[in-house]
């Protein structure tokens, strides 16, 4: 699994950090910072959940 984030699309809602703080963080402006680009398969569910909760659809998960 790989995760991609599009910072130009991010609106800093922070939903991703709420559900997967081991994968995502926010910088000082609130924009998404990807911590783990290629996490293990055991974290697919939380990555997918973060992607689906993102109000700006700024997170892509590819398997």
């Amino acid at each position: 699994m790989t995760i991609e984030v599009t910072r130009s699309t991010c609106v800093g809602a922070g939903q991703c950090v709420l559900v997967a703080e081991d994968l995502f963080d926010q910088d000082d402006e609130g924009l998404v910072v990807l911590i783990e680009e290629d996490p293990g398969e055991d974290r697919v569910d939380s990555a997918r959940r973060a992607a689906s909760l993102c109000p700006a659809r700024a997170i892509q998960v590819r398997e």
Binding site: A13, G30, R57
Partner: protein, 410 residues
């Protein structure tokens, strides 16, 4: 068994419906009808990145072309739905070049969105001997590209509308070097469901960037002026010279095509809190008003995240029979570089308190309260405190939501 699902409307809500149908394992046929000629795109970007000129249209796409193909749906661009016949279970479509077509459905999901409202006076502003001036509306990507082309340095731009969209357009036009006036009938500037509570803050922001704000002024017409451009005429007889006039007077559900369907109640497409309208008929996004289980009233959707969640909710319901919790509103805005984030039920609040930051600074987080509980949040340039408080709000609402859900299904 449901064999063919027709989703009418290929924007945020329609796309989310289709994605979630496939994700939840629906293996039948899916037809996705889109009235425009663009692949699904991000509507919130229209009044921000597209007007600013920082994004090309392709950057506004909601989904990569390859991902769209991978959904294996029959995606028909440029096919506008013209009618539903519930007896024969068909949707009739109209295409500019290909003409009309009829598609049968086992279930249909209506996601036709909303249209920009024409100002009420626009129909008679043609005047006596001159053609009606072009009053720009902003709803579609084509609209946004057209308006962006008008935002030229030094031009006089008048934005009609005191809501968030009006403020965003004024902000983008200013950034492009235009001389901007923001006018409307309302007593102040509003921020979505928060109403006029942040009017002073918005006024200060616009003033700091040179936007002239004129509230409480009723526009009665826009006429070609004797010189270049137009005159915006107010009820009190004053006029405002403008080169470009953009109306942001709100939006209304695009449901006129359902007029003879028997699905509308006083012109509205009402759904229950899971998107069901009638037998085999569902509705998502701005076209519909879902029943809010907390208040027992129907509410329009209005924001991208709610449209996405409604689409997913109906997708899961149709594919797997799952009922999803009622979505919690969230919206964001960017006005003169200020990042605004709002969540929850701002409309039912009876008081507002400062949670972080400072009343007089550009960084502030406000809690909206109904009685003794927090029902919503609005952050100005404070994304991290917003997230922390948002977590608490979501936890509280999901506890309340699961209780409401138990009540509903018991």
């Amino acid at each position: 068994m449901t064999e063919r699902i027709v989703v009418v409307g290929a924007s945020t809500a329609g796309l989310a419906t289709v994605e979630s149908l496939r994700e939840a394992g629906f293996g039948g046929e899916v037809v996705l009808l889109g009235a425009e000629h663009w692949d699904p795109y991000r509507r919130p970007a229209l009044s921000k990145q597209i007007l600013l000129g920082t994004w090309e249209p392709d950057q506004a796409r909601l989904v990569e072309a390859s991902a769209l193909r991978a959904l294996a749906v029959d995606f028909r661009l440029g096919h506008r739905a013209a009618r539903i016949d519930r007896r024969s279970r068909t949707v009739q479509t109209d295409h500019e070049a290909l003409g009309t077509d009829t598609i049968g459905y086992d279930a249909v999901v209506i996601a036709t969105g909303a249209s920009a409202r024409q100002p009420s006076w626009a129909s008679y502003s043609a005047g006596v001997d001159r053609p009606a001036p072009a009053i720009h509306l902003l709803r579609t990507l084509d609209d946004a590209l057209r308006v962006a082309g008008q935002l030229v340095r030094g031009r006089r731009v008048t934005v009609l509308g005191t809501g968030v969209l009006g403020s965003e357009i004024a902000s983008a036009a200013t950034a492009r070097g235009a001389r901007v006036s923001l006018v409307g009938r309302s007593a102040g500037l509003s921020l979505g469901a928060a109403g006029l509570r942040f009017s002073d803050r918005l006024r200060a922001l616009h003033a700091a960037h040179g936007v002239e704000v004129r509230t409480g002024g009723e526009v009665v017409a826009v006429r070609s002026s004797d010189g270049p451009g137009y005159d915006v005429l107010f009820a009190d007889g004053t006029r405002l010279g403008s080169d470009v006039v953009i109306a942001a007077a709100g939006a209304e559900p695009a449901v006129a095509w359902l007029a003879d369907s028997g699905l509308l109640t006083d012109g509205n497409l009402l759904a229950d809190s899971h998107g069901r309208v009638a037998d085999r008929v569902f509705a998502v996004g701005d076209a519909s008003s879902w029943l809010d289980p907390a208040t027992g009233t129907h509410r329009a959707c209005g924001h991208q995240l709610t449209a996405m969640e409604q689409g997913r909710s109906v997708g899961r319901l149709l594919a797997a029979g799952h009922l999803s919790p009622y979505p919690i509103p969230f919206f964001w805005s960017e006005i003169h570089g200020a990042r605004v984030q709002a969540s929850g039920r701002l409309d039912i609040a009876d008081s507002v308190e400062l949670l972080a930051g400072d009343h007089d600074s550009d960084q502030a987080l406000f809690g909206f309260r109904a009685g003794d509980r927090t029902c919503g949040l609005v952050a100005w340039n404070l994304p991290k405190p917003f997230r922390t408080h948002q977590a608490a709000l979501l936890a509280q609402q999901s506890a309340a939501g699961s209780a409401a859900h138990l009540l509903e299904t018991s």
